[in-house]
């Protein structure tokens, strides 16, 4: 499937277009919603509804960038409404996420967009391998990681080596290279 970049014109008559927009934006939007409300049990509906709203109003959008703006805004509004409602119901009994300012939301959207690209790039790296990398960053030893993930130390080492190769190849930005050597120690 062709990648949908910002300047791309959306052909609403194309049968696959909603699927492609979904592929492109679903995960970052979910995570974006999570950042706003701090609870993943309700964010699925927010994102689904945003896509349905998009479909209803599709005639208004030509560029992928416009679609993107609409989706993020829609999810943000759903999150803020949810928080407002909750606040009335809970009357401060419950710990609720602080409402993000507009600027914070815009920044969060950028962060999700970058994360989505990195996620695509690291697809080949299993969830477990990424977990191991994270724990290494946090300073855990091979033995500790092995115990936590209930795998052998050798497996940890193998996965680290694989992670090293993929990270080096896919994310060879300077900041990563410094860190990557840690993985090999």
């Amino acid at each position: 499937m062709e990648k949908l970049t910002d300047g791309h014109i959306v052909d609403w008559n194309d049968n696959t277009v909603m699927k492609r927009l979904f592929e492109r934006f679903y995960l970052p939007l979910r995570s974006f919603a999570f950042r706003h409300v701090g609870d993943d049990s309700i964010t699925e509906d927010f994102v689904q509804t945003a896509f349905l709203n998009l479909w209803e109003r599709r005639e208004n959008f030509r560029l992928v960038s416009a679609v993107k703006g609409f989706l993020y805004l829609n999810v943000r509004n759903a999150c803020l409404n949810y928080l407002k409602r909750k606040r009335v119901e809970a009357r401060h009994e419950q710990e609720l996420a602080r409402e993000m300012s507009e600027q914070e939301s815009v920044d969060a959207a950028l962060e999700e967009e970058v994360t989505a690209l990195v996620y695509e790039a690291l697809k080949e790296l299993s969830e477990q391998a990424r977990r191991i990398v994270l724990q290494t960053m946090e300073g855990a030893s091979n033995a500790e990681i092995a115990e936590r993930l209930e795998i052998s130390v050798n497996t940890v080492k193998t996965l680290k080596l694989r992670a090293y190769r993929i990270l080096r190849e896919r994310l060879k930005g300077v900041q990563w290279l410094l860190f990557l050597h840690l993985l090999l120690d």
């Binding site: 970049t5 910002d6 049968n15 909603m18 699927k19 979904f22 592929e23 679903y26 995960l27 970052p28 979910r30 995570s31 999570f34 993943d40 699925e44 994102v47 689904q48 896509f51 349905l52 479909w55 209803e56 960038s65 993107k68 703006g69 993020y72 805004l73 943000r76 507009e102 600027q103 939301s105 815009v106 920044d107 959207a109 950028l110 962060e111 999700e112 967009e113 970058v114 994360t115 989505a116 690209l117 990195v118 996620y119 790039a121 690291l122 969830e127 990424r130 977990r131 990398v133 994270l134 960053m137 946090e138 896919r170 994310l171 060879k172 930005g173 300077v174 900041q175 990563w176 860190f179």
Partner: protein
Amino acid sequence: MRKLHDGIEVLIYHFLTGNLTPEERMKLDEWLVLPGHADLFRRICDKERLLQGTLRYDSYDKEDAWRRLERQLREARVTEVGNVGRRRIGKRWWWAASLVVPLCVAAWLLTNREEKPLALAENGRTEIVPAMSGARMLLPSGEVVDLTNEGEGDLIFQDGKLVQEADGVMAYVGDTLGQEVRYNEVQTPRGCEYQIKLPDGTMVWLNAASSLRFPSVFAGDCRRVYATGELYFEVARDEDKPFIVELEDGYSVRVLGTEFNLRSYEREPRTTTLLEGQVRVGGPAGQVVLKPGQQAVDLKDGKELFVREVDVNSVVAWRRGVFLFENARLEDIMEEIGRWYDVEVFFENSAIRDERFSVEMRRHDSFAEVLKLIERTGMVKISINQNNVFVK
């Protein structure tokens, strides 16, 4: 919300992957000097944060979410097909809404009598009666015959040997002398319904504004008929001669022996609903095989033909002499009723078209009764002028 940092994500990503071109670096630098951006950049590039982000992505079930969305999108499209067509037709009648209507009120309307005067216009004296059993038939000879079940006497027609049976059912006994196949056509106008028995014993119920073309004898290796509108078929079993209903646009339903409902009115999706047996539905958008309780929906865009589970009872309620709408749009309800009572319905307040109602009523009630039921919700005012009904 303010404008997103459009395009910056690609720059940051290229920075992370070490693929930043000189121009991109310049653009990124320009962005970085703006207030707050350097901090944001550092935060986004934080390795731990990034990896944690990807792990959160792993926790979402994208496939499952897509399946749910796909279903909802389809339903949305089913509603749209109708709306688009209707808007085209009735545009000049749909002036802007001036009333504020509460959202999404569903009302259960029952057929009990709790009278409240109906605000019918004074000049709305015309008695509007429900559809009658009646149709007309075009014979191969070109002759047009009026078929009303009220008609007394033996209706035996020339050529095709038409016989009037009891209870308004017309039996058609084909000419078996093996001449060339000639076609008859039964048409029900708006406000009429009809039942017919075909030469092979198949029973067909025609709802209002429908037609069925069939040969005087089913020669050859299949039984082929042509239909429009809404029809209910009880196909006589014949393993050797499949029964095929052809509709416009190359859409067809193929069966051996079974019961199914076919609906193909203009400006709405085409549906085939199976009650018993098995049917194969095919059209430009592909083919599907239905199991009982399933409905094939064709959006008439030549692209999609899909299957969904439906409440069969409400689909074939018309055959039992009942209108049954569950959480249906007022516009769809009025369109159906209009076909039955042969009236034109105009919405003077277009917002009300999308109000949803659940209604169950007898098809043979007088039109005034039916309108009373709808008015009782207090959400709409209905006035009648000749055969035109105005809703606001």
